[in-house]
Amino acid sequence: MSSLSGYLFVSALLFAIGMAGALTRRSAILALIGIEMMLAAANLNFIAFWRYGPHPEALTGVIFVLFSIAVAAGEAAVGLALIISIYRYYKTTNLDKIDAMRG
């Protein structure tokens, strides 16, 4: 197993762990943390492909990850603000209880 596939495996594992947490945990805050983890796993993929790619001097992967980190920060701020707003309305962050839009 070469080193690139090692990084890709770590990234896939991080993505799956984040996805499992976001889909199965009952707390809304942990669902948001899981989504952050999935974004970070995608960033690791970008950096690994940039390092092992044929044109590392183009810096494309690095710039993309910088923008992705900025978007993740904005997403975390807005998501946590939404959770605080939902908590004020429902008095809980239990995802099983927040089902007003259930079809």
């Binding site: 947490g21 390092r51 001097e57 975390a76 701020a77």
Partner: protein
């Protein structure tokens, strides 16, 4: 496969697993910070110093602290309800299937057997030049997006007061 990579990968995955499986949410965020520290060290291992240090600043310095404040404001540190949602088995199967497909794709791809190329010349000067030259429009757009996110987060989270009669 070097020893440093093995240690850092184990640290990252252990932090992520602990962040998703601990009961107390504050412990989850601390484990998440550990996992992100391991991830930043993996970035440093891949010769991406600037991004690795920005990851430390943004994820550990801002996102983790913000999450702790959100836990504090929603009194959710150690909730009384069960950890998993009622329909968790099917969702866990979906996550495992996604990992299986990704692992199979990585394993069978010839691209993942590339040799390590020579160390690239990644300096902060070059990143700054690229951000001010070719990528200046996306940079401005990110600035606009962060401003909108800042104002939007404040407006969403602000307490609505009753209108005076």
């Amino acid at each position: 496969m070097s020893l440093a990579f093995t240690i850092l990968a184990a640290l990252t995955v252990a932090g992520a697993l602990a962040a998703m499986s601990l009961r107390n949410l504050v412990h989850c965020v601390l484990a998440l910070a550990l996992g992100f520290a391991g991830l930043a060290a993996l970035f440093l291992e891949l010769d991406a110093q600037f991004v690795g240090l920005s990851l430390v600043i943004v994820y550990i310095g801002a996102v983790a602290i913000l999450t702790v404040f959100a836990i504090l404001l929603t009194k959710g540190a150690d909730p009384a309800w069960p950890m998993l949602i009622s329909s968790w088995t099917g969702n866990a199967v979906v996550a495992a299937a996604v990992f299986a497909v990704l692992a199979w794709a990585i394993w069978s791809s010839p691209a993942s057997r590339r040799p390590l190329p020579a160390r690239p010349e990644e300096t902060v000067l070059q990143i700054g030049g690229a951000l001010m030259g070719r990528y200046v429009l996306p940079l401005e757009l990110i600035g606009l997006l962060l401003t909108a996110a800042l104002i939007g987060a404040v407006i969403v989270a602000i307490e609505e007061r009753q209108a005076p009669k």
